[in-house]
């Protein structure tokens, strides 16, 4: 694997920044372009890059398939759970205005949480799909 040295070093350098960028896109999506869907895809691409350069076995150690598979469902649950929170607070399903005293602050909080749920599901789904395709034996 000596001839992959350049790739390994550069990707080791870049992967943290890709993840940081994904988090920026995730949490800055309210003010600029971005949001859960884009952030999830970018986060997944960081893991996919790791898997391509360092091999699938190492990638499976970093992101254990058992955990990632559960995260796919967890994102949807976070989203739906936020909807039910509104229901418990006496408002409609997915009405985030009820999450806080101030409706606008509640909206902001609700959007933050559900975008996080979206990002989790998208990233975990893409990583799972990549693991399954790349791990399929010929």
């Amino acid at each position: 694997m000596r001839h992959h040295r350049v790739l390994r070093i550069i990707s080791k350098l870049l992967i943290p920044f890709i993840m940081l960028f994904a988090l920026y896109v995730q949490f800055h999506g309210d003010f600029g372009p971005g949001g859960g869907f884009q952030a999830g895809v970018i986060m997944a691409s960081a893991f996919i890059l790791y898997g391509l350069i360092f091999g699938l076995e190492n990638a499976r150690k970093v992101a254990p398939p058992a955990v990632v598979t559960k995260l796919v469902a967890a994102g949807v649950l976070i989203y739906a759970g936020t909807g039910y929170m509104g229901l418990f607070k006496g408002a409609n399903f997915l009405d985030y205005g009820a999450l806080s005293k101030d409706p606008v602050a509640g909206q902001h909080l609700g959007i933050m949480i559900i975008e996080f749920g979206v990002g989790t599901t998208v990233a975990a789904a893409m990583i799972t799909i990549f693991f399954l395709f790349a791990g399929r034996d010929r």
Binding site: G29, F31, P33, F37, V41, G83, I114, T121
Partner: protein, 201 residues
């Protein structure tokens, strides 16, 4: 004027790339060109003011879907066989459909018209009042997550379902139709039984 030129140039590139995808036989080249096609589409979306969409298209089309397609090519082979029979019927269907659609475009509002019906219904309300109601500058995010939260919940569920379906289809070992787990299914069952009776090894 410059915007129009960029528009026309990008669209022409997209058309050329799509024709090349149709004509090429090497599937590897086809997949690479489809990545370029996605990148051109993303540039086009920027020119049309849809920055969020462009962002997604660039990350998904040029990144993830190209990687997935190449992973599949490694499993299924890289050459496409030449078509065995003439393609007059599909060509006729496609030409007729395209002609009908182009005829229909003459009733569409002009490109960029501010008074087109699409731009008059709910869009002004979102643009004028979403900042007071939701408090976010990015209208796309507030519509996506707040005004149309149900829609997005459905879309996330579709992604979840697709991931589960892919797991069910190719999550097991090759030739193992019953297994849906990643670990060897038969051995796992044996181990579970033997654990009850004491260690056999």
């Amino acid at each position: 004027m410059i915007i129009t030129l960029i528009d026309i140039a990008l669209l022409t590139f997209m058309g050329a790339t799509a024709l090349a995808i149709l004509r090429l036989r090497s599937l590897f080249a086809v997949v690479m060109l489809s990545g370029i096609y996605s990148l051109l589409a993303a540039s086009m979306f920027v020119a049309l003011d849809a920055v969020d969409v462009a962002f997604t298209e660039a990350a998904v089309g040029a990144g993830i879907s190209t990687v997935l397609m190449i992973a599949v090519l490694a499993l299924t082979g890289e050459r496409e066989r030449a078509p065995s029979h003439t393609m007059w019927l599909p060509m006729a269907v496609v030409v007729l459909t395209g002609a009908a659609l182009i005829y229909a475009t003459f009733d569409m509002p002009a490109f960029g018209a501010a008074n087109a019906p699409v731009n008059l219904h709910v869009a002004p309300r979102y643009l004028n009042e979403s900042f007071a109601e939701v408090g976010l500058p990015n209208v796309v995010t507030s519509v996506l997550a707040s005004y149309r939260g149900y829609d997005t919940l459905g879309e996330v569920t579709v992604i979840f379902t697709a991931a589960v379906a892919v797991m069910l289809l190719i999550g097991g070992r090759k030739g193992d139709d019953a297994g849906i787990k990643n670990e060897p299914a038969d051995d796992a069952v044996d181990d579970a039984d033997s654990d009850g009776n004491g260690d056999t090894a």
